[in-house]
């Protein structure tokens, strides 16, 4: 559905996307993970044709995005992170006006709009103004609006940000049922629970590049190890000895502001000697979040 080859995006001296290759299969739910500024949004903007490529090529549904933008966009849907519903129109009009941009006939548009309002549990709010809706309803309306053209490819940027747990699960259920109907999903998210729950495959981006790619289980297997220990040193004076010992044992570790994160795997476990040196704050089975932080670093990005 999506084929990206050596995509590059530069803004002046800054290289936001630094040569990305990506293939998303038909009917797949693909997740794009990465810290702020990793280049996810720039990559997505190129895929939807809202940002010209500095280099490389992108095909959507077999068509070159620079040659067939209109055709591609007619079967594409985008749910932006920043809500852009039309505040001058009511709920139903938001959908029917959007349908008109796709040349969908009036009666058809109305039928589809009503179906979508029902699917996203907004049927009682047809005449409401956008600003009268809660944040959760607005987000559901935004997703409903994106589906008005019966897209083949749905691109979502943080679709559940700011939603309460009920709203989040409603959106996830709807997205899963869309996928079952054959829709391809490309999901940008920083919510690891969401990524693990929805996505068949994930790509982790950092500094404009994809640094690893695979199913959630593959990524966990590759980088998670068997257990994550979070610990503090008993004495800061012993830091260099501890670091030396950790490296000798081949244990993977990261240090952020005095806290050590250590990834145990197979033989690589904390021996008694090391356990004397540290106070373990927590230990748990690795999650996608651990993998994410391990691959992209724990320090703040911006």
């Amino acid at each position: 559905m999506i084929k990206v080859r050596n995509a590059i995006k530069r803004f002046g001296a800054i290289e936001a996307v630094a040569g990305v290759d990506l293939d998303v299969a038909d009917g797949e739910c693909f997740g794009l993970l990465g810290p702020n500024g990793a280049g996810k949004t720039s990559l997505v903007r190129m895929i939807i044709g809202a940002s010209p490529l500095t280099g490389g090529s992108i095909w959507v549904d077999g068509k070159d995005i620079t040659m067939a933008a209109r055709e591609i966009k007619s079967r594409l849907a985008v749910v932006p992170q920043e809500e852009n519903l039309d505040p001058d129109l009511n709920v139903l009009e938001n959908l029917t006006t959007f349908a008109r941009y796709f040349d969908i006939p009036k009666a058809d548009a109305r039928r589809r709009a009503l179906d979508l309002l029902e699917l996203f549990e907004l049927q009682g709010r047809q005449k409401a103004k956008v600003r009268e809706l809660s944040g959760g309803m607005r987000r559901r309306l935004l997703i409903a609006r994106s589906l008005i053209n019966e897209p083949k490819l749905l691109i979502l940027d943080e679709p559940t940000i700011g939603l309460d747990p009920q709203g989040k699960h409603l959106v996830w259920q709807r997205l899963l049922s869309m996928r079952q109907r054959g829709l391809t999903l490309l999901l940008c998210t920083q919510n690891m629970e969401e990524a693990g729950y929805l996505c068949d495959r994930l790509a982790i981006m950092n500094e404009g590049k994809i640094i690893d790619l695979g199913s959630p289980q593959e990524l966990l297997g590759r980088h998670g190890g068997s257990q994550v220990l979070e610990a503090r040193l008993r004495s800061d004076d012993r830091k260099s000895q501890v670091v030396l010992k950790l490296n000798q044992q081949g244990l993977e570790w990261q240090e952020v502001a005095g806290t050590f994160y250590m990834f145990e795997d197979g033989d690589q476990v904390l021996d008694d000697e090391l356990r004397q040196e540290v106070a373990i704050v927590s230990q748990h089975v690795p999650t996608l979040e651990d993998v994410f932080l391990k691959l992209t670093g724990r320090s703040l990005r911006e």
């Binding site: 803004f11 939807i48 809202a50 940002s51 010209p52 933008a69 209109r70 055709e71 966009k73 007619s74 594409l76 849907a77 985008v78 932006p80 920043e82 852009n84 519903l85 039309d86 505040p87 001058d88 129109l89 009009e93 006006t97 959007f98 008109r100 941009y101 796709f102 040349d103 053209n149």
Partner: protein
């Protein structure tokens, strides 16, 4: 232009729908201001003014009011109106994820600004006709002229919008461009009183040919119009329309 298609009409339709929804809040602006100006300047001030020939002062300014308010409509629509849609409501960002191109959006916005110019010209024409200052059926020609001038003013306004860093930037547009034209383009007094050089300079202002021709049409004395002014109107449109498309493209496609 490369990317303009029939779909630009979709943007026009969206703006039309919103306009007729909010129609009630637009009515005062439509009638009240031109009406007040006609009363204050035409009847009030006009009582102290005598012009060459048999023309009364209100007869002189009425066509200028048609031209000027049509200009205001197109300008407001494509400055504040467009800027709010583009920058605050992110309406353009939403539309360009559909099969519409940025060129379609720009063309649709300018077409709508043009329509506002035509609507205003029509309403003000009706108002001045009620004052009995429309003396010829040729006055109806002021409507197609309002389409041409609307296209020009909407294009100029949207170019400025595509460059405007913030909504406050429009203060300059109105104080340095629109308001001076309102006073120095032959709306309220003939340009003949100015020194030759000022007279010639005032023809740089795009409202001057519009006011001049509107007056010739509404008075029915077509021969008094400076018809070469049409070339200025069409020429400026031919420059500013494509320019606003190109600059808007640069602003939105990053």
């Amino acid at each position: 232009m490369m990317g303009i298609s029939h779909r630009s009409i979709r943007v026009w339709q969206r703006n039309r729908d919103v306009f007729f929804k909010l129609w009630k809040s637009e009515v005062p602006g439509f009638f009240a201001e031109p009406l007040l100006i006609l009363l204050a300047m035409g009847l009030g001030l006009g009582a102290y003014i005598s012009l060459d020939g048999s023309q009364s002062y209100i007869e002189f300014i009425a066509p200028g009011i048609v031209a000027a308010y049509a200009m205001f409509s197109a300008s407001f629509e494509c400055t504040y109106g467009s800027f709010i849609r583009m920058e605050y409501q992110k309406t353009y960002d939403a539309i360009i994820t559909t099969p519409l191109s940025i060129e379609d959006v720009v063309a649709g916005e300018i077409l709508w600004g043009t329509t506002r110019s035509l609507l205003t010209a029509f309403v003000v024409l009706v108002v001045i006709a009620a004052f009995g200052v429309v003396s010829s059926p040729w006055a109806l020609l002021a409507l197609p002229l309002a389409v041409l001038s609307g296209l020009m003013f909407a294009s100029i306004a949207l170019l400025y919008t595509s460059l405007a860093p913030s909504v406050y930037s429009f203060n300059y547009y109105y104080t340095l461009f629109i308001t001076p034209m309102f006073f120095f383009s032959g709306v309220f007094f003939p340009l003949d009183g100015f020194p030759k050089i000022v007279q010639q300079l005032s023809w740089i202002a795009p409202l001057t040919p519009v006011a001049n021709l509107t007056r010739a049409m509404i008075s029915g004395e077509l021969a008094t119009g400076a018809w070469w002014g049409l070339a200025i109107i069409v020429g400026l449109t031919a420059v500013f329309f494509p320019l606003s498309v190109v600059i808007m493209r640069r602003r939105l496609l990053r």
